[in-house]
C-alpha cells in the first residue's frame, strides 16, 4: 500500500513539477454515460465526434481584428460552452505543496530547484510508478517492449507466456500485430539528453494508408 501511495505521489509530482517529462501512467480508464470504456464504438462516442466536427466548422468563429486579415484557414470554437476557470487554490491534490511551502524555507526550495535536486528527485520517482503502471496496464508491457526493439528478450518472452495481451480491454488498441518497428537513437548534440528516438515502420506495406509522415511527439 505504501508503494502504491508513493507511486501515485511520484506520478503527481512528475506532472506538477516536470511537465516536459510527464511519463505519468496512473489514471483510471475514463468512462462515459453508457458505462463502457472510452474508445469503444457506441452512440456516445459518435455523438462526441459529431460535436467535434460541428465545432471544427465555421460555427462560432471568434477572431481578433488583427488576425482576421492574416488568418486564411483558422476556425475557433465559441467560449460559450466552456466552464468557468477552476480556482487554483481549491485543488485538494495541491495540499502537499501548500504544506511544503509552509514548512520548507523559500531559500531552501529555491536551492533545491536551481541545483537540480528536484529534477533528480522527480526523475528518480518515476521508477516508483512502474509497478502501478504494470498492474494497471499489463498489456502495455508488450507494446513497450516492441517499441523498444526488445522482442527477442527474456522479458518479452515472459510477457507473452503470461498472456498479458489477453488483459487488453476491448477498444484499447495497442501496436498493431502486423507492424514491425525499429527504434534508433539519433544524437543531435553533445549532451546525453540531446537525442531523438526515431521509431520506424520496417514493413510499410502493412500500413494503411501509405504515408511518409513524421510525427514528433513528446
Amino acid at each position: 500500500m505504501g508503494l502504491l501511495r508513493a507511486s501515485c505521489v511520484a506520478a503527481l509530482l512528475q506532472v506538477l513539477l516536470h511537465p516536459c517529462q510527464s511519463y505519468v501512467v496512473v489514471r483510471d480508464i475514463p468512462s462515459h454515460p453508457c458505462g463502457r470504456i472510452v474508445g469503444m464504438d457506441c452512440n456516445w462516442r459518435l455523438t462526441q465526434r459529431k460535436e467535434f466536427r460541428r465545432l471544427s466548422t465555421s460555427q462560432g468563429v471568434l477572431r481578433s481584428a488583427r488576425t482576421e486579415e492574416t488568418s486564411t484557414n483558422s476556425t475557433m470554437s465559441s467560449r460559450g460552452s466552456l466552464p468557468s476557470t477552476p480556482d487554483p487554490s481549491m485543488n485538494p491534490e495541491d495540499d502537499v505543496f501548500q504544506s511544503a511551502r509552509k514548512s520548507i524555507p523559500t531559500r531552501v526550495r529555491g536551492w533545491m530547484r536551481d541545483s537540480g535536486v528536484i529534477r533528480v528527485i522527480m526523475d528518480s520517482l518515476v521508477w516508483f510508478g512502474v509497478p502501478t503502471f504494470v498492474s494497471t496496464y499489463p498489456w502495455a508491457v508488450l507494446d513497450f517492449l516492441r517499441l523498444g526493439g526488445r522482442e527477442d528478450g527474456a522479458l518479452f518472452w515472459l510477457a507473452k507466456t503470461l498472456r498479458l495481451n489477453d488483459t487488453r480491454r476491448p477498444g484499447l488498441d495497442g501496436l498493431r500485430e502486423d507492424l514491425k518497428v525499429h527504434t534508433e537513437k539519433i544524437s543531435y548534440g553533445a549532451d546525453e539528453r540531446q537525442y531523438v528516438h526515431l521509431i520506424t515502420i520496417t514493413n510499410p506495406e502493412a500500413n494503411l494508408p501509405p504515408s511518409s509522415n513524421y510525427g514528433t511527439i513528446r
Binding site: 460535436e51 488568418s71 466552456l82
Partner: protein, 204 residues
Amino acid sequence: MAAIPFLNAGYSQVALVGYWTYPTADVQGQIDDIAAAIRALPPSSRMTVMGHSSESHIATMAFLQERLPINRIDSFIGLSGVYDIPSHYRWEAARGVERISPMAPACGGSLGGWKKLSPTRVVSQDASDNSSFKPYRSCFPQATLLLHGNSDTTVPFTSTVQFAETVGLNWIPLPNDINHVETISDFMFGGPTREVVLDWLDDS
C-alpha cells in the same frame, strides 16, 4: 507509447525528441534543442509536430521565432500548453508550487524575460504596436490545432483560449472532463483526445 496511434494510423516514422531541462538549460536553450533535433531528422516531405504542456510552449515559441522549417512541417498540435508565463506564474503561486517549479527561472527569472517567452504576450504586444505588425498566423503551419482539457488544474484552459484567439488559431474544447495528464495519456491508453486528434489529422 504515445507513438502507437500514429504508427497504427499510417505514419511511417515517429520521432520522440529529448532535450535539456532546467537547470541545465533555460527555455531558449530548449527551443534551440528542438530546432536542432528537427534538423537532425532524416529528410521528409511532410511532418507533424506535437507537444504537450511545456513542450507545446517551446514548440510555439520556436514557431514564433521562425526556428523550425515551416516548409517541411504541415501540421502542429499543441496540447495543454502554457502560453502566458506571467499569468501562469500567478496560477502556480495560488497552487503553492511557484518556488519549486522550474518555469520562472527557466524563462529568465524576471517579468521582462517572461513576457518575451510568452507567445500570447509576444503577439498581443506586437499587435498593439502599429509600427511593427507581423502576421504571426503565418509563422504556424496552415493546419494547426490547440487542445486543452476543461478540467485541467495544472494549466488552466484559458491559457489556450487566450493564445488561440490572439493569434487566430484553431482551438477545440475536448468533449469530456479531461485533465492535464489525460491529454497525453489518452494517446497511450485510449481516450477522447486521441480520437479528436486522429479525426482532425484525417480531415486536415
